[in-house]
């Protein structure tokens, strides 16, 4: 099929190109070094906005905040995918083109290199002095110089051919091999990232000391699966948080209250009939379970509270995780008591080491529980749990509730030291602060691509190192009437070309002295 280029009429004359011609031309452009270079630079530029604007993948709250602060601008940026830069159409287009170019570039090069590996080094040039490094030596005993040069260069790791009185040698084929390994490994990295990402999942779970987590979808507080994930990939196991320990620095003046170490002591089982296995999870030391790693990502306090109604029946007993609000672990928690005649909820603050500010407000001055105190504001009314809509366990929707203790309610907020029991207002009963427990935020992640990404990345590192540091050069030696000549030519960067020529000359002469 022939398409005439009718777009170019008038006085511009262009050769008519067939479709095949056009595609060949496009392909050649795409796989040229210049295109590769431009695409690389374009990729670098395209990556920049992702560090300026918050990204949905890394910082979803930042995106929400950006929308709140810039209601006009945000939708425009969003339309340009500036909050999803690394999955955007334009970013993907650049790297896909780059990789097409890469394949188009390295496949033919592999063929050429394969040929080169099997062919002899080229014959000696006519004029040695024209080469970047050369030497002409006067030397009487030059009759077997070619033979000796052949032996010498072969010993030095060159591929050598002798042609009468001249020797051609070449070394450093590894340079191109390294280059090809590097570029192919990049393709490997890309595939491993893509496939691994699709098969991966990551789920979050907050676990209080004494609680057990069972690996199924319902157990997760939040869960983000990759595109190819399905639930059958979750392998069965359970894990209990036995104890959580934190060390805070108290000795060093400038450092008081800084966390030194977090330790989650857990016991896990891969089958109900097995004996639990004890293990320790720390921040940089995840626990490997079948089909997932468990990481420690956060921690805090979970005060154990018991609430009794006016008759003394327990209506709530449990340890809710309180979210830390500061580095000294002033923590905020919510307790909901739905199964009573009049529903009520509590917003509680927990201060591990309480102190009073000059304003009268309470604060925590040290993160460990040295002098713990809990304060509570109580709200009565509809908790909003009956509609079947999932609600946030860390927030209390007080829109349909009335505050009956704390704030401007007229009744003072409750204050409880550890072990204390106080009366709830309006005859709702009593509340007891039984015990301080801790919770750990855990992240259960699985990415089968990781190890392949690493392998290909290391392979590419090895490839690029070889390719950049192994010099590739040709060396020729030829017997002349009064002595011999040596010349060398580098292919690519070679810091020691002149030295090589000098050494070859020396060694060819030295042999003689023995």
């Amino acid at each position: 099929m022939v398409i005439s280029s009718s777009r170019f009429d008038g006085d511009i004359t262009t050769p008519e190109l067939s479709l095949a011609g056009w595609s060949r031309w496009t392909w050649r452009q795409l796989t040229s070094m210049r295109t590769a270079l431009l695409l690389l630079l374009l990729l670098a530029i395209a990556a920049v906005p992702g560090s300026i604007y918050p990204q949905r993948s890394a910082d979803p709250n930042g995106v929400t905040q950006f929308f709140d602060n810039n209601p006009e601008l945000a939708p425009v940026l969003d339309a340009m995918q500036l909050f999803d830069v690394y999955t955007s159409v334009w970013f993907s287009a650049i790297y896909i083109l780059l990789f097409i170019s890469l394949i188009g570039c390295v496949v033919p090069r592999t063929g050429v290199h394969y040929q080169a590996l099997r062919s002899a080094p080229p014959a000696a040039p006519k004029n040695f002095a024209r080469m970047p490094a050369s030497a002409s030596v006067k030397y009487a005993k030059n009759t077997d110089i070619a033979e000796r040069a052949e032996t010498l260069l072969r010993k030095l790791g060159y591929r050598v051919v002798r042609n009468g009185k001249a020797v051609s040698a070449e070394r450093g084929y590894l340079r191109e091999t390294g280059n090809l390994v590097f570029h192919f490994s990049l393709i490997g990295v890309l595939i491993a990232v893509g496939v691994g990402g699709g098969l991966s999942f990551s789920g979050q779970r907050v676990l209080v000391e004494g609680e057990t987590f069972v690996n199924n979808l319902a157990s997760y507080d939040s869960f983000s699966p990759g595109t190819f994930f399905n639930e059958s990939r979750l392998q069965p196991f359970s894990m209990s948080l036995d104890k959580f320990e934190v060390d805070f620095d108290i000795k060093n003046q400038t450092n008081v209250g800084t966390p030194l170490d977090f330790r989650a002591f857990v016991s896990s089982k891969v089958s109900p009939d097995l004996v639990p296995q004890s293990a320790l999870i720390r921040v940089n030391e995840p626990l490997a379970m079948p089909g997932a790693n468990i990481y420690l990502t956060g921690n805090g306090y979970a005060p154990h509270i018991t609430i009794r109604d006016a008759e003394g029946n327990v209506v709530f007993a449990g340890a809710n995780a309180f979210l830390p609000q500061s580095t000294t672990y002033t923590s905020l928690g919510v307790i909901k008591v739905p199964d009573v005649e009049r529903q009520f909820g509590i917003i509680a603050f927990f201060y591990p080491t309480v102190d009073k500010l000059t304003t009268g407000a309470l604060t925590s001055i040290y993160p460990a529980p040295i002098d713990p105190l809990m304060t509570m504001n109580v709200y009565e009314g509809d908790l909003g749990l009956d509609g079947g809509v999932p609600t946030n366990v860390y927030a209390l929707d007080t829109s349909k509730m009335k505050q009956i203790a704390g704030g401007k309610s007229g009744t003072k907020g409750l204050q409880l030291a550890l072990g204390e029991t106080v009366e709830l207002p309006n005859g709702l009963g009593t509340v007891t602060f039984d015990d301080i427990r801790r919770f750990a935020s855990l992240d259960v992640s699985y990415n089968p691509g990781g190890i392949w990404v690493l392998l290909f990345a290391l392979l590419s590192l090895a490839g690029v190192t070889t390719s950049l540091l192994v010099p590739r050069r040709r060396v020729w030696v030829r017997q002349t009437t009064e002595g011999f000549e040596v010349a060398a030519l580098a292919r690519g960067d070679d810091p020691i070309l002149e030295k090589v020529v000098g050494e070859v000359v020396e060694k060819l002469k030295a042999k003689d002295k023995k």
């Binding site: 070094m33 270079l37 630079l41 670098a44 300026i52 060093n252 450092n255 966390p259 990404v453 590192l461």
Partner: protein, 303 residues
């Protein structure tokens, strides 16, 4: 578990850093003085190091020794490696730059950039002690990993190689600039005369290339080590965190630089500019990104 931070020792470390700065200042002035003399002497060729130049180099060595002691004491004071916040990264990084420069000096004639290296080191130490200074603190648990040790020290070394290469690229661009070829102004004539006393442009270009390839290999390793550490600490090996983004950008620019060196029409000046853009990105990553961008890598230690 306890740790011992030593306030007193960190103060002594700071004194050593200040002392090193004083000596580096002397070295810098001596190198500059030497350049000025070269300009007035109107010599055509430059031989081995002159007396003044040797004095400057000796000063730089003394400065480096004091500097090194300062770095080590800081590590001892904090009872860990001295590269966990911007202050420590700066003092350790500039120490590595000076050391590599002095070592390279024994192999290659790169005296040309001595003024640049001593001046730049002074600038880094000046900002470190005035803007980035923080008391010794322990590491937050996420940073307690031997990957911190490996990842950061390799990044520091990569930066040092890029730094020296950038100095050479500047020299290259100055030497090959059009306005320097047929100078008219007295000032430019003087600069040209100084530059003429140094190795030819091809040599400088090749040297810059060699420093950059070492830098690139080290940077590739930094990137991989960072990903391994991120996998341990943040349960994903790559998440396009701002710091990860910039590590990637820098890597890509230098990959572009390497391609430029093999592309017709892109060798020489264009690739020198690319190397400078790459180094500008390194500096940007270290200053602006650390201080003003939001991300997981909050280790400036400043609030």
């Amino acid at each position: 578990m306890g740790i011992a931070l030593n306030e007193g020792l960190s103060q002594i470390s700071l004194i050593f850093i200040y002392a090193a700065m004083a000596i580096y200042t002397a070295a810098f002035l001596t190198f500059a003085n030497h350049l000025a003399r070269l300009a007035s002497e109107k010599k055509k060729v430059r031989g081995a190091a002159t007396k003044i130049e040797r004095i400057a180099i000796v000063l730089m060595i003394i400065g480096a020794v004091l500097h090194g002691v300062g770095v080590v004491l800081r590590g001892v004071a904090a009872s860990r490696v001295p590269w966990a916040n911007m202050y420590e990264f700066s003092i350790t990084g500039s120490f590595v730059v000076v050391s590599i420069f002095l070592l390279a000096l024994t192999i290659k004639d790169i005296r040309l950039i001595a003024t640049f290296v001593s001046g730049f080191t002074l600038l880094i130490l000046g900002s470190a002690t005035s803007i980035f200074y923080v008391e010794v603190k322990s590491l937050m648990p996420a940073l307690q990993s031997y990957w911190l040790v490996i990842h950061v020290i390799v990044a520091i070394c990569a930066t040092a190689f890029f730094n020296i290469a950038a100095g050479l690229s500047i020299a290259y661009l100055l030497k090959s600039a059009k306005w320097a070829q047929k100078p008219k102004k007295e000032f430019v004539i003087t600069i040209k005369r100084i530059l003429d006393l140094f190795p030819n442009v091809e040599k400088i270009e090749r040297l810059a290339y060699r420093f950059n390839i070492i830098g690139f290999i080290l940077w590739s390793f930094t990137l991989i080590a960072g990903a391994i550490w991120a996998e341990r600490a943040w349960h994903r090996y790559w998440g396009w965190d701002t710091k990860e983004v910039w590590t990637f950008i820098i890597w890509t620019i230098y990959a572009g630089y390497l391609h430029a060196n093999a592309t017709r029409g892109w060798t020489g000046k264009r690739s020198a500019w690319l190397a400078l853009i790459g180094f500008a990105a390194v500096l940007f990553n270290f200053t602006v990104v650390n201080l003003f961008f939001k991300g997981l890598h909050v280790y400036s230690g400043l609030n």
